[in-house]
């Protein structure tokens, strides 16, 4: 899988490249800012672009803007945005235009090479990735009035969080050491309690869950 990296800090860019090569990725380009990134994508047609949110010149949300441009110009390129901070609003903004091939991860996740590699792969294959800490903030957010989330069992909440992270039923099953069939039962029950429509499409499911959580 071909990957380009964009981060203005060389130490992080190089480190990440080393990790990804170790995990079997083909790092085909590196960029220090959004303009360079777009050039690299143009030139190298990668499967995934891993982008730091904060880059020159303003060091605010250049990475997010670049992601929007890549989505518009190169819809086939998966985008994994890395952030130093947990910002649900940024994450939701990123995923609001469709969850296909989009991910948002905290930089901390680089310490788990297996997990990082699987996230990159998921985004590259058109799936979605949402950092667990963002999902946790969304799930634990205090809600006014009748909160159907309180009707969920502990296990159902775990499944909901993993759904929101963009994982498939199979992955959720592996995570929780339960069968895929059991996961399906939990999903059905959760969607029922939250009054969300059942959908065979993972993307629509993620979107529905996120919309629900962030509403």
């Amino acid at each position: 899988m071909r990957v380009v990296l964009a981060d203005d800090a060389v130490i992080l860019r190089e480190g990440l490249a080393r990790l990804l090569v170790e995990a079997g990725f083909d790092v085909v380009g590196q960029a220090a800012d959004a303009d360079e990134l777009l050039e690299q994508i143009e030139a190298r047609s990668p499967d995934v672009a891993i982008v730091d949110i904060r880059m020159p010149p303003t060091h605010t949300d250049e990475g997010l803007q670049a992601a929007a441009e890549i989505r518009a110009g190169h819809p086939s390129v998966g985008i994994l945005v890395l952030s130093q901070y947990v910002r649900p609003s940024y994450a939701l903004e990123l995923l609001s235009h469709g969850t296909e091939g989009v991910g948002y991860l905290l930089k901390d996740r680089v310490s788990d090479l297996e997990e990082l590699a699987s996230s990159v792969r998921r985004v590259g294959e058109g799936g979605s990735v949402l950092d667990p800490s963002v999902v946790a903030q969304l799930v634990e957010r205090p809600r006014s009035g009748d909160d159907p989330l309180e009707d969920l069992t502990e296990r159902e909440r775990e499944v909901l969080s993993l759904m929101a992270e963009g994982r498939s039923n199979k992955a959720i099953g592996e995570r929780l050491f339960i069968t895929e069939h059991t996961v399906e039962k939990h999903v059905k029950s959760i969607l029922g309690k939250l009054r969300l429509p059942e959908s065979p499409d993972d993307h629509r499911r993620v979107l529905a869950v996120l919309t629900y959580l962030s509403a």
């Binding site: 800090a9 990440l16 990790l19 995990a23 130093q84 930089k107 680089v110 310490s111 090479l113």
Partner: protein, 563 residues
């Protein structure tokens, strides 16, 4: 009335009476009685109006010119006298009063000519009224004329026509100058000058018409009497102008009444604007602390050239920024200022308070801004420093985990990188937290914290600390930052070879003084470091002073009350 006024008035009466007698008894006057009466009326109107003008505006030459013109008029009328000497004298000066009239008009209202063109007009007028007149007399064979050289009617007529031609051009020019000035004048000046300028301009147009008619051989004859009547009324037109100023004085009385009714905010300005007839009037108030003027909102203002300062018992209170034309009425400004002084003093106190609030607001805004900048700096430092190192460390550990399984030999350099990342992150965190608040200051106090500064300052530093006990926390912190910021400036800019830091207790204040022997010339308005310090010290009720003459070192001195 002053004795000099009485003397002048008496002289005018005597001269007028004498000249009138000369005219009444004249053999040459066509209408001796009419001419005599007119002679007396015109002369006395000019002298009288001039005296009133002088009385009202001693500093203005207008009155003087009017009095002079009145006397010149009497002299001119000697041209009717039968006595040859008087007659010659009168004839020689018979046109001079017109020059006086023109000068008065051109120089109105301040008694000075305003442009080169006006001076040229007066000079040409002098040529016509005096030089050509005397030349003409050389050829005038009248027996009364004592300076005739020859009798040449042709030359006489030619010179007369030249006089009339040039005279009419000068007259028309004068009228044009006056009308243009009136049109360009601001409202108060128009109001004051209107009667004089219109009567004057009309007189000179009439004079030009008369002269042209003479040239073409169709004298206007008796209609010319009309001109003399107008000429007699001109001084009254001027008196009317004066009366308008008098009416403005009535406005002062009105102003006193209005101010007595405790006006609304802004009401003082409106009342003053009405009294002065200047709707654009602006007020500025004196703030001694700033050694400058501020507006009603407390914002600093620069006075324009046309500003009159109002003072009370020798202290400045306010300034009236008014229409330039009002400078011609200093006594009106003075009386309005005097009438409003108390009200203005009240407004001044308000403005002074607002100026202080404005200072305070600005200082608070600077403190908030400085805190915000500092937070951003800290965030940026963390993001680009320690956080980055730790992410890098996390990556190394991730890689290490993998390598330990697959290639234990390759793990060693990764482990070394990880340890270096960790060490760097720790160091950066330490430096950052020290910058946020030096731990020594909290733990051991100001003396200990300052005691470390010589180790960190590249310039030799002598510390003299004379306070035995701990000071309030915020005082110690402010003192510490004053010293460290001042030392940072010394290191960066002063090129000093030595610096002395003194901390002492004076009159219940903590005194902090940093003196170097460097290049000096430091300016607290440049660079936010010192102004930020000043805000911090002033927030504790203290003062920060900077003495930094070029070439003679810099002294930063802070005095902070110790609660």
């Amino acid at each position: 009335m002053k004795p000099i006024d009485v003397a002048v008035a008496t002289a005018a009466l005597v001269a007028g009476a004498a000249v009138s007698v000369a005219v009444f008894t004249s053999d040459s006057a066509d209408h001796a009685v009419r001419t005599g009466v007119l002679t007396l009326v015109i002369g006395l109107s000019w002298v009288g109006a001039g005296l009133v003008a002088l009385h009202r505006r001693p500093e203005n030459r207008t009155g003087l010119i009017m009095v002079a013109t009145g006397f010149i008029w009497f002299v001119a009328q000697l041209g009717y006298a039968d006595n040859h000497l008087l007659n010659t004298f009168g004839t020689a000066t018979e046109l001079l009063f017109i020059l006086g009239f023109a000068y008065l008009l051109l120089s109105f209202p301040d008694g000075r000519l305003h442009s080169r063109f006006e001076r040229v007009l007066v000079a040409i007028g002098f040529l016509v009224c005096v030089v050509l007149q005397l030349t003409w007399m050389l050829f005038d064979g009248d027996p009364e004329n004592l300076i005739a050289v020859t009798d040449s009617p042709d030359a006489e007529a030619a010179i007369e026509n030249v006089q009339r031609a040039i005279g009419s051009v000068v007259s028309i020019s004068t009228a044009v100058v006056v009308v243009r000035r009136w049109r360009r004048a601001s409202a108060p000046l128009r109001r004051a000058a209107e009667p004089v300028l219109w009567a004057g301009a009309a007189s000179f147009v009439a004079l030009a018409v008369s002269a042209v008619n003479d040239i073409v051989g169709q004298p206007l004859g008796d209609i010319e009497w009309l001109w003399w009547v107008v000429f007699a009324t001109v001084p009254f037109a001027f008196l009317a102008g004066l009366l308008r100023v008098q009416m403005a004085r009535g406005a002062v009385a009105q102003l006193v009444l209005e101010l007595g009714r405790a006006p609304e905010p802004g009401g003082v300005r409106d009342a003053l604007a009405r009294a002065l007839g200047d709707p654009e009037l602006r007020l500025a108030y004196w703030v001694p602390e700033r050694n400058g003027f501020v507006d009603a909102a407390g914002r600093p203002v620069e006075l324009s050239a046309d500003a009159t300062v109002v003072a009370r018992s020798g202290r400045r209170i306010a300034a009236l920024e008014h229409d330039p034309a009002l400078s011609e009425q200093p006594e009106l400004l003075a009386s309005v200022g005097a009438a409003a002084a108390l009200a203005l003093e009240n407004e001044r106190l308000n403005a002074e308070l607002r100026a202080r609030l404005e200072d305070l607001r600005a200082s608070r805004a600077r403190i908030v801004e400085a805190a915000e900048l500092e937070r951003r700096r800290v965030e940026r430092n963390l993001h680009d420093g320690a956080q980055q190192r730790l992410v890098s460390l996390a990556m190394s550990l991730g890689l290490l985990e993998r390598k330990l399984e697959t290639d234990p030999e390759a793990a060693k350099p990764i482990l070394r990188d990880a340890r270096e990342d960790l060490a760097t992150a720790l160091q950066e965190l330490r430096e950052l937290s020290q910058g946020i608040h030096p731990s020594l200051l909290t733990e051991r106090g100001l003396e200990a914290a300052l005691g470390e500064l010589p180790l960190r300052t590249p310039v030799p530093l002598e510390l003299e600390f004379s306070i035995g006990e701990r000071l309030p926390v915020q005082v110690e912190a402010a003192a510490y930052y004053v010293v460290s910021e001042a030392l940072a400036n010394v290191t960066k800019y002063a090129q000093a070879t030595a610096v002395r830091v003194r901390v002492d207790r004076v009159d219940g204040n903590a005194l902090v003084e940093i003196a170097d022997d460097g290049v000096g010339g430091a300016d607290s308005s440049r660079g936010s470091g010192l102004s930020g310090l000043a805000d911090r010290v002033e927030a504790l009720g203290g003062r920060l002073a900077l003495v930094s003459p070029v070439g003679r070192g810099t002294v930063v001195r802070a005095e902070i009350p110790c609660g």
